[in-house]
Symmetry: C2
Subunit: 461 residues, 2 copies
């Protein structure tokens, strides 16, 4: 018999771990193929540090071919999946179609930005799920401060140095906390008009920041945010977004050029196309991560609804921690289905959470022990270094340098607003004209200038 | 009297130094404005290290607002210059026009890629003058190796891992030397078919590499290149470039997907539009860097033809070293024209040259003392650290890490082939659809797939 073909779709936490573990378990007894739009695994939890200039983008991008021996990488985005014919169609980076067959399929397609039906948000907000978005935000924030420093009109200056973050979960809280630090540092070399200071707003409909954490940690994180100057508005969200700013649900209109959307994620819409039972958009699997009725199909990570064995009737939440650990179980069970080792059910124990608030501030509850301040910051950074599958020394070196040197801030201008739309099934890629799924701007009908770039000169500001 | 307005066009070596020195000399007695398409000064000599993944792009980009106090930055590209009306028109990053007036004008517009009338080169080659081009090349080389490693067909594999560099001056020699190192390192984790190895060709019509250096150094550099595996072909150039490869002047056809164009530079075409006397495209100035007949206009750097006082009838060559030192003299003379200090003529003494061949290899002749091997490498890196106006510690840290860690190699996919055309008056910017001076790809007529991306999947290779 020829070697069985294992196809893994997606190289996020779940897919990367599945591929790495399977390569180790099967040795040369199976052909492992990994289908992913990029040639790197993105360590998402550190994305806010890329956006705020602490880390360079390559630091959080771990090379797939460089770290996954015995795994064949196919660059492309999965399209139609045919569970009966056992094929997956995909579109390569140049827009051409290809098809891959399989004997075992692992769906680890992850999640994308969650949208809410709020007028103007899809046009004016940017999400936070991939490197292009993070680099866009880094450029954008730098540009706003440079333009604010050069602005003569107080109103325009104030709008440019006001930044609105919606969603006070892990990502939004980190973005606001680290964003305030970043912009404060920028204005030290480029002072604003007398008395003006960059202002970050953090909004959430929840009653407190980091609602997933215990209340004590949540309060201490909020204290750090407020002390730093972040305008924390709980119980508040956005009613409408326009070119000029955002209308809040409490009736206030905030002049701003920046709306960062961190309200959470939803499963990759690819899951819907399977025609299999879903749970809130996630593909239902059994505790062995198998799709009922398809013994050759497995799913894990954000895109899979995995029963929580400790809480009957519930499913494991969409977190990197679960995805990472499900990947390992999934690999074991795929191998077991090929006669290598034995399968086991997915059971999790919460290891706790870490939230990096920038500098020496953080909130963490490792193994349930609530920590804040420098001890939490040490745990947080140690956790990330331990959890990253590569690039550790370089990340640690960047942190060291950031602690002693001024932050680097330049606009590289490589990612434009229109190439990182909020509504995207593939936030890991910057859109380019002519690429699949894009409505490219054409010469005849130039793209409308996005709001952040419309006022993009010193002359008018 | 109100404060005189000094306008500096261009923030390369000459313009940056002029701005920095003028800010120091004039204190608050003049308004200094710097017009530049980017908000950073690019330390060009280290660009090959960005392309080959040693340094991150921000390392060689020194923030203008962050390092130039008392200088107002206007982001834009200079267009029409009216010496009589004393105005400079410019186009901002969003394509809108603006006008700046001046009492003193400093033209430091630099140079762009030199083209030669060789069929196919403008379409298939990429230059090496800005960060977008360097990042494009980094992605491109990584992609070629990944595709070569996955290729079944020996011919395709070989074409993908063949890289042609034209021009054996400083830049081309560094690119070929460091490129061979980079790709050799990549194939250690992604082995090619049996017996295959990445192959870099270095071509030049000259008889030896680095013809500007003394012959002994030139020979020793060539030995390093050959020992490393670079195919050095002197007395040879490109006759034609096609999708499939390049036809050399010696009749050989080389299958390749990569043609790097380092044949040199030409003055920014803006100089021609002035209607003033030129010397090979460079604006003629007197030894005080003043434009004859326009006491209020100065020029320096690659775009200016500065008389070489030690070699009557000749002009100083287009090098960063001259530009940097002319910037200082220019600032003094502008200040002198405003009654601050006294003017002086530009006189240079060659400080020697440094060529970084990667790893511990280099060629240098500091103060005329020829060095090669590790001593030259130490001098080279020390020279760069001393010469950079910022980011030194971070560059040194990256070098340290690169010496002990495997090179990071991922495709970030942010710069596409069509956005960095060889023929460009502004290689410092990535072209975007709808931007000024661009023929954007449109939905109706999609851009032809560039040769390097045409074969961009594993399936067909």
């Amino acid at each position: 018999m020829s070697r069985p073909r294992i196809l893994i779709v997606g190289a996020g936490f779940a897919g990367y771990r599945t591929a790495r573990t399977l390569a180790r378990l099967t040795r040369h007894r199976a052909d492992i193929t990994l289908l992913n739009p990029t040639d790197y695994f993105l360590y998402l939890p550190l994305l806010p540090q890329v956006a705020m200039g602490v880390l360079d983008p390559r630091r959080v991008a771990v090379s797939l071919p460089g770290t996954l021996r015995r795994v064949r990488l196919v660059l492309g985005e999965a399209g139609g999946i045919d569970l009966d014919a056992r094929t997956v169609r995909y579109t390569d980076p140049e827009g051409r179609e290809g098809t891959l067959g399989y004997d075992r399929l692992v769906l680890a397609v992850g999640s994308v930005n969650k949208l809410l039906p709020i007028p103007g948000v899809a046009e004016h907000a940017h999400g936070f799920r991939g490197l292009p978005e993070a680099l866009y935000l880094r450029d954008h924030v730098t540009r706003q401060i440079e333009l604010a420093a050069a602005a003569d009109d107080p109103g325009r200056c104030s709008a440019r140095c006001t930044f609105v973050v919606v969603g006070a979960g892990y990502t939004g809280t980190e973005v606001a906390a680290q964003g305030q630090q970043f912009t404060d540092e920028l204005v030290r070399t480029q002072p604003l008009r007398h008395g003006m200071r960059p202002r970050w707003l953090l909004l959430d409909v929840a009653a407190r920041v980091l609602p997933e954490l215990d209340e004590r940690l949540s309060r201490s994180a909020e204290r750090v945010l407020r002390r730093r100057g972040v305008d924390v508005r709980m119980g508040t969200s956005v009613k409408e977004a326009t070119h000029e700013g955002v209308l809040l649900t409490d009736g206030e209109f905030v002049d701003t050029r920046t709306l960062v959307w961190c309200v959470g994620v939803r499963p990759d819409p690819l899951m819907e196309s399977l025609g299999r039972p879903l749970e809130r958009g996630r593909l239902l699997v059994d505790p062995y991560l198998q799709v009922p009725g398809h013994a050759d199909v497995f799913a894990c990570g954000d895109g899979a609804a995995v029963p929580d064995l400790d809480k009957p009737g519930r499913y494991t939440p969409m977190t990197a921690q679960h995805a990472w650990r499900q990947g390992r179980v999934c690999a074991r069970n795929v191998a077991a289905s090929l006669g290598i080792g034995s399968r086991r059910a997915y059971r999790h124990r919460d290891l706790g959470f870490v939230v990096d608030l920038g500098g020496t501030q953080a909130a963490a509850d490792p193994l349930g022990i609530p920590l804040s301040g420098p001890p939490a910051a040490a745990v947080t950074r140690g956790y990330h270094l331990a959890a990253m599958p590569g690039n550790r020394v370089r990340v640690a070196a960047d942190w060291l340098l950031d602690a002693v040197l001024p932050r680097q801030a330049v606009q590289l201008g490589l990612v434009r607003s229109w190439s990182v739309p909020l509504e995207s099934a593939s936030p890991e890629l910057a859109r380019v004209p002519g690429a699949p799924g894009t409505t490219p701007p054409s010469a005849a009908a130039p793209l409308p200038t996005p709001p952040d770039e419309r006022h993009g000169t010193q002359e008018d500001s």
